[in-house]
């Protein structure tokens, strides 16, 4: 395990803070569109020459919530609060436009709050919206509705950018994003094989939200090249992580120090974002029907609820995982409604679980978690010894 800890990747060091990344892009002349999480239609925005960035993973950069606290009660989740703070404090400096869709109840409440506040300050930002059906897209009317909405969004983007939609540009964008997805999965596999620390891998994967897709691809390619040939340096009891965001680096570090190894994840900003590769299509309606219908299940994609349990079980089996850590985003109801059912299912399958909860107030003070992680690791070790003894006895 120790050997892997010093493997600092160039890719990891290339990941800048959110504001620094955006400032850099702005100075290079990018037209930035700030997207609310979780799964915006990045390819479409990109095909119009916009550079979409996804506003999550801001917790490390946003530590004061002075502006957000004027608009949102403290029981909004950290993603929404840090997003609001960032948009209100620096949105007009960075963003030429914003985009949101009906990802969750908290996010749907934000557009008018942000719009009216920015408007009052004389710094309005155009906002695009989309409603993605929350019923199965296998129903013809739902697919028709999604396509109508996509068409309307295309019209608005044409007006905003002054460019006509281009099938070629869209195909190019979808190819880029699929390449990024494929590479992201490859990088994850390197982590699962112990060739790169998951903490480093997750930092690189999460940074997809704050940089142009081609830059991200370059980092992914370079990192994969660098680590592909290395001998597995990181060993440990294999666990799976689940949640909206990966835990802060300090916690990932604690997980590894405790002798655990993240062999799989079901994290919205990671695997759930790139776990499905849609088929190429020059028709955005068909492309997004495929993507939103088949994408990796998520607590926020309501029709994927049944598939989610199966997918978690399948991933556990494939990754030979012995423990499961929920990284709860405080106040995220979508996640918390699912945890008991998944926990029961895992425990029935003999997989031990640990629940951690990260909120705005404890994101930077993680000491209390370390002890729990160590205790969990010890429990898994004892479990492993026990099952070895049982096997020997047989």
């Amino acid at each position: 395990m120790g050997g892997a800890r010093c493997m600092a990747s160039k890719g990891v060091n290339e990941v800048k803070s959110f504001p620094d990344s955006l400032a850099g892009l702005k100075s290079q002349g990018h037209t930035l569109i700030g997207c609310f999480p979780l799964y915006p239609p990045l390819e479409l925005l990109h095909s119009f020459g916009l550079t979409p960035v996804v506003l999550w993973g801001l917790l490390q950069d946003i530590t004061h919530l002075a502006l957000s606290d004027r608009h949102l009660q403290p029981y909004a989740c950290g993603v929404a609060r840090s997003l609001s703070e960032f948009v209100l404090s620096r949105g007009s400096e960075f963003f030429d436009a914003m985009f949101m869709y009906n990802a969750c109840d908290t996010l749907r409440n934000l557009p008018e709050i942000l719009e009216s506040s920015l408007g009052r300050n004389g710094t309005p930002i155009p906002l695009f919206r989309l409603h993605i059906p929350a019923v199965p897209l296998s129903r013809a009317f739902a697919s028709v509705y999604l396509k109508e909405r996509i068409r309307a969004l295309i019209g608005e983007l044409e007006k905003f950018t002054g460019k006509a939609f281009s099938k070629q540009a869209f195909l190019r964008s979808t190819a880029l994003y699929n390449r990024q997805r494929r590479l992201s999965l490859d990088l994850e596999h390197l982590a699962a094989a112990g060739r790169i620390r998951f903490a480093d891998c997750s930092g690189i994967l999460l940074s997809a939200g704050r940089m142009p897709v081609d830059d991200h691809i370059t980092i992914l390619e370079r990192t994969i090249r660098e680590f592909n040939g290395r001998a597995p340096g990181h060993q440990g009891i294999r666990i799976m992580l689940s949640g909206i965001l990966p835990p802060p680096a300090a916690l990932l570090d604690a997980i590894e120090r405790a002798g655990l190894m993240v062999a799989a994840n079901d994290i919205a900003a990671l695997r759930r974002s790139y776990g499905y590769l849609p088929s190429a299509s020059a028709d955005p309606g068909a492309y997004y029907e495929d993507l939103y219908r088949n994408r990796y299940p998520c607590t926020t994609i309501l029709p994927s609820a049944d598939r989610r349990l199966e997918t978690v079980m399948q991933t556990l089996r494939e990754s030979d995982v012995q423990g499961f850590i929920f990284v709860g985003e405080k106040f995220c109801e979508h996640e918390y409604f699912e945890i008991p059912a998944i926990k029961r299912m895992l425990e029935a399958a003999g997989v031990r679980t640990l629940e951690l909860e990260i909120g705005m107030d404890n994101a930077l003070n993680l000491d209390a978690y370390r002890t729990r992680i160590e205790a969990f690791a010890e429990m898994l070790r004892q479990g492993a010894r026990g099952s070895r003894r049982n096997k020997d006895a047989v």
């Binding site: 029981y75 749907r108 129903r139 009317f141 926020t300 405080k330 109801e333």
Partner: protein, 416 residues
């Protein structure tokens, strides 16, 4: 929603007394018909029960309404704790925790012995999408089919595209129920059910209109309590009769000079779900201060289109079209502008002196716009406002003294 007598003399009229009986009968009837083989559907509050009225032997239960009843009867904490014991976070909506606590304990501690097991779950996401997650809990535990109505959030009034989308979903819903229940949907039955609901909503608004009188003929607490049958008797003649009686009697009381807060000095508006565990206490203590919460966004939205106050009347034609158009009637699916529009209207009509924003951590959808809405009401309309913390159904998350310190400060602001 709970039924209880609120203001001593004032509520002891026929409609007030008949409310408890009506609600109890509705639940008994539900259990009886379920045990005799009716097809049982659990629906979210905004799912159009009138559509179910198009079937001969389909009965429905509304878990949110049942949870409110439990909270009003003081069973909130014990039922929440049961759900928490099963691993459901204390941060989840208290309605959901109460309901899960009841459902997985065979209806124990519920004043209605819980709800009969469903054959089908129908949720929708226009109030909140957590309802979908909540119903998924039962879908997983019991293997009961779960259908979702997807209602796009409204930042503006409903448009044609969304209307058509909702109509299409109603079609799917009807076919699914036909197939599962083996019954045929009868459009005329549904039409009659819609006609009765529309009539009932008119009477409901007539009852609420007495809040414009000085002193007010009602308190918002009356409306909280009296909205219960909308969730248990929607689309029935008895609902129309009940609200007609309620409105008539309230009118009579005004003529006779009987008022809930006779020495009313402050006329307030409540924004959020009713504080079910505090109805009697809060209304009584406010009355002692000469304050009456006369109106509430939670109850004035019923039967109206988004951003409006007056009821949306049925024209006698397509009942499904009326239901689809009215799918956004509650406050939660409304953006800031629509909420502000309706509130401004009510503040004007009912001569409101101050607004109480009940910040409710259980119901983020209702609450997470309130800080901006409060700013709008205060700055644009010049009406004093206050925000208090209340969980609508979990009394453990409410501090009476903290709330009243703020409420008293509001009254001082109004005086100033």
């Amino acid at each position: 929603m709970p039924s209880e007598e609120i203001q001593g003399e004032f509520r002891k009229n026929t409609s007030g007394k008949r409310l408890s009986t009506m609600i109890m009968n509705d639940y008994l009837e539900l259990h009886r018909r379920a045990s005799e083989g009716a097809f049982v559907v659990w629906i979210a509050i905004i799912v159009p029960a009138e559509l179910l009225g198009g079937f001969e032997n389909v009965v429905y239960a509304v878990p949110e309404s049942h949870a409110a009843l439990c909270a009003g009867k003081g069973a909130g904490p014990v039922l929440c704790e049961k759900a928490e014991g099963l691993g459901y976070s204390t941060d989840l909506c208290s309605y959901a925790r109460i309901d899960i606590g009841t459902a997985f304990d065979g209806g124990r501690d519920s004043p209605t012995f819980g709800l009969p097991r469903p054959d089908l779950l129908i949720s929708n996401n226009n109030n909140c999408s957590l309802l979908v997650k909540w119903f998924d809990v039962y879908h997983r535990a019991w293997g009961v089919p779960h259908l979702v109505l997807d209602i796009p959030f409204c930042y503006q009034n409903q448009n044609d595209r969304d209307f058509r989308y909702i109509m299409d979903q109603f079609g799917t819903l009807i076919s699914a129920i036909e197939e599962m229940s083996g019954q045929r949907f009868d459009m005329d039955r549904a039409r009659e059910s819609v006609r009765l609901s529309s009539e009932a909503f008119k009477e409901w608004k007539r009852f609420l209109s007495f809040a414009a009188h000085r002193p007010s003929g009602i308190t918002a607490f009356d409306s909280f309590v009296q909205m219960a049958p909308i969730l248990t008797s929607r689309g029935t003649r008895r609902l129309v009769d009940h609200y007609r009686l309620l409105a008539d009697e309230t009118g009579e009381q005004i003529k006779e000079g009987i008022f809930p807060v006779p020495d009313e000095r402050y006329r307030l508006l409540w924004d959020n779900i009713a504080p079910w565990h505090q109805l009697r206490k809060m209304s009584g203590r406010l009355a002692d201060l000469g304050a009456n919460i006369t109106s509430a966004s939670y109850t004035y939205c019923i039967g109206a289109l988004e951003g409006e106050y007056d009821p949306y009347e049925f024209d006698g034609n397509d009942p499904l079209a009326w239901l689809a158009r009215l799918q956004n009637f509650s406050v939660c699916p409304h953006g800031l502008n629509l909420r502000g529009k309706a509130m401004k209207e009510v503040i004007g009509r009912n001569e409101i002196d101050g607004v109480v924003f009940a910040s409710n951590r259980s119901c983020k959808v209702y609450s997470l716009m309130q800080m901006d809405q409060m700013r709008y009401i205060r700055e644009e309309l010049g009406i004093p406002c206050v925000m208090i913390d209340v969980d609508h159904a979990d009394v453990r998350k409410y501090s009476e003294e903290a709330a009243f310190t703020r409420l008293e400060a509001l009254l001082e602001m109004i005086e100033a």
